[in-house]
Each structure stands twice: as C-alpha cells, then as structure tokens.
Symmetry: C2
Subunit: 220 residues, 2 copies
DNA sequence: TGTACATCAGTGAACGCGCGTTCACTGATGTAC
DNA sequence: TGTACATCAGTGAACGCGCGTTCACTGATGTAC
C-alpha cells in the first residue's frame, strides 16, 4: 500500500524493501519478543549484509518506532473499517479480539508492558484518540437515551464531567463515556490475560470469558 | 528472611549475597526492563567481578526464574496477609493496586507481556492457584446467598460449571466463581493500562477508574 | 538513440561494546584433630 | 589452644558471540543532453 504511492521505480523499490524488512521484524518479534529485535539479523534473513539496512532505517530505534506506529494505525484502521459496516458495539467487540489474536505481539506492542525509558512517538497518542473516537461513536449509538432515568450519577460521572478532554468535541453523554472506558479496560483485561496464556493453565475457555465481559457492557 | 533460615555463617552469607544481587536485579529491571537484565552488570554494581556471581546463580535464566517466582510469591503472601485481617473483598481490591504500584515491573513480570519461548517455572501455576484461592474465599463471603434468586444462569455459568478445576475443591457457588474472575480480569484491565501510562495522556485519574471497576464488582 | 554523468543500493572491513560463561588460580574462612 | 587440611568466595584472563553503527568503495540504475 505504501509502495503503490511511490512515483519513481526507485521509490517504489525502497518502499518494497522497507515493507519486507518490517515483515521480517514482525516474525522476529513473534519468535523472541520485541526486545530481541536486531537490524543485523533482519538483514541476514533478507539475504543482505548488515549495514545495507541502514539505507532504509536510520537506526534500530527508528524501526521500532515505525512498528509501534504501524500497530496503532492498524488497529485504528481495522476499527474504522468495521464501524463503516455498522455502528453496533458488538461488532467492535469481535473486531478487537480478532485483531488481537491475529498477531498477539502486535497487540502487546500497543497495550503491553512498556519498556522503561522508551517513549512512544507522539503520533500514537493521536491515533489512540482516533481509536477512542470510534468506540465512543458506537457507545453513543448504544445509549440513545443519554442517561438511564432512574440511575443516580456515579462518582465516576463526576470525574468524567471534569475530564472529558480525551473524548474531544464528541457530544457523547456521560453514560457513553463510562461505557467506552469499560469497553476498553474490561476487554483489555480478559484479552491480555488470554494472550499471556493465563487461562490455559486453568482450563478456562477465553472466548467464554470474553463474551461474558462483552455482555457485562450492555447488560444484555 | 531467607537469610535467617541459614545454619552456618557461610550459608547465611550466601543467602545475603543472593538477596543483595536480587535487589540490584530489580533496580535494573525498573531502569531498563527485564530483558536488559545482565549478571555482569549486577556484579559490577555490587563491586564484584563478573564471574563471581556464578557462585550464586547457575545462569542468567536461573536468576530470572527466581525473580519471577519471588514476584508471584510476594503477591500471594501480600494477599494472604490482608485476608488474615478480614475477608472483605474491598480489602483485596486495595491490596492489589497497592502491590502493583509498589513495583510496577514486578507486576508486569507476573501479568505483563510474555517473552515468546520463555516458560515460567511450574511453581508459578501453583502460586497462581493460591492467589485465586484467597480471592475466591473473599468472593464467597461476599455472596453468602449463593445465587441471587431471580437471576437466570448466564452462559458463563454453564461453562464454569464444567470447568471449575482451577477453583480446586473450593465450595464456592457459581456466583462467587464469576465474581472472582471479574475481580481478576477487570482490575487487571484498569491496572495494567494505568501502569503502562495509557491514562495519563487522557488526563484521567486512574484511581477513579479503578474504584469504579471495583464498584462494578459488587454492584455497590 | 547513444553517450556522460549523477544517484544510490549494497559490500566488506572495521570499531568498540557488553554479554554469558568457563577455567585455573589465590587467598581467606571454617573444620578436625 | 594450635596446627593441618578442606572448603569455598572471588579474581583475571580468555573464548566466542552478536550487536549497532561508520566508512570507503564498487557496481548497477536512472537522468540529461
């Protein structure tokens, strides 16, 4: 996709090689974790000498930064694509799990253990906002009444009323804000434990737990 | 503590050095992450030569394994100590967050991104069981009625009825099993996102989100 | 269309680094008579 | 209590390794006239 945007053959070739290097990088991450990523090793698997890759990436850090950014963008794009097909929250629930299972290490690059000292590029916070916007849209559609009549405002509502900058200019009612946060934290809770293998030793089916938490969101 | 169990002065000394090495290991993990752990670097900070530490740890892997096991045991001990002071679930809720904030990297060593290829020692699954037992106790105490009369059994209940080996011979009712799992996955969801810094960019107070999820457990 | 030049991908050698780990050795500490 | 011996902590040298990264160079590809 990035390759097709290139004008000259050389630019196209550059983009192809960069893309191929990234693919090898992901394989390497899947095999030994992100911290084991090595430009030399990638080059060797591509049949190139070590220094050759420095024509395509200024440093190891730049490669990692690009992978992180790509991971964020992938989730945002996947969410938006699903949202375009219908704004139901259940669709996003399934999409999230599918995206996570498609490549667990990609999920962990976004939501996993942070490396102390490493600062994610600023772009990721912007993309995070895009992701939350899609979730918020679906949550707003899910809660058309605004606020359940009888429900008293929770302590969380008071906090959210004063801190809704993260929702941008989104006209979401408080109940939608709460729902969006629960969507995010609860599904991440089950998903990250599943991907880390914490359920397998217990003999539990992660899909069941995930579905149960999804039900807890909408009360259905 | 381990040191005081030693009989001879030499054994006591050995235990002390091991303990000191582990402390330096934790500092190193806090600074650069678990994957950057190096026996040589630890030795140097202790004023020893590199090979000296091989008198105390057979390999780098053994050190890591020990740190992982210690982390699990620390959580189990902390939970049990709190449970001894009262079996309320709210106490465990606070204890978990406190334990996590005390040393985020220790939390991530237990519940964070797994390193592909690394297999945690078997002992950790046993300690995991101990941790779940404490949670289950509190959840059972929290749900004395067994099952809320009017509530129809959820799809999750059906699954749990057939897969409750993880709960051991614990006489917990289905509602307690559900509660224990929600305790684990929901609190982990908020906590891991908090420790990874995902809320700071949004201007949200993690304590508020954590408290809200804690409230969601008991419905109060 | 053909030639002259500029651009750029890729190479091999090299640098310095820190790692895990083994080994033969020294010197201090503890043990047995 | 004093001496002879065994145990063991710690050292420095050494091994091989792979890393990130720089650099001068070669050869192929594209561009301009």
């Amino acid at each position: 996709m990035a390759a097709s945007n290139a004008r000259t053959p050389r630019e196209r070739y550059r983009a192809q090689v960069r893309e191929e290097a990234k693919e090898h990088a992901w394989e390497q991450i899947a095999t030994a974790g992100a911290s084991a990523l090595s430009l030399n090793a990638i080059a060797k698997r591509m049949g190139l000498s070590g220094p050759a890759l420095y024509r395509y990436f200024a440093s190891r850090d730049e490669l990692i930064t690009e992978l992180v950014t790509d991971a964020y963008r992938s989730l945002a794009d996947t969410f938006r694509a699903r949202a375009a097909a219908g704004t139901d929250l259940a669709g996003l629930v399934d999409t999230l799990r599918q995206w996570a299972l498609d490549d667990p290490q990609r999920y962990f690059l976004v939501y996993g253990t942070p490396v102390p000292g490493y600062h994610a590029p600023e772009e990721t916070t912007r993309i995070s906002g895009e992701i939350m916007a899609v979730i918020l849209d679906a949550c707003t559609a899910e809660e058309p009444a605004g606020e359940s009549p009888g429900a008293p405002p929770s302590p969380l509502d008071a906090h959210l009323a004063e801190h809704r900058a993260w929702a941008g200019p989104h006209p979401a009612p408080p109940s939608a804000l709460r729902l969006a946060l629960a969507f995010w934290t609860r599904l991440h809770g089950v998903l990250s434990l599943e991907l880390a293998g914490h359920f397998t030793g217990m003999g539990l089916d992660p899909a069941e737990l995930y579905a149960a938490e999804a039900r807890s969101l909408t009360g259905r």
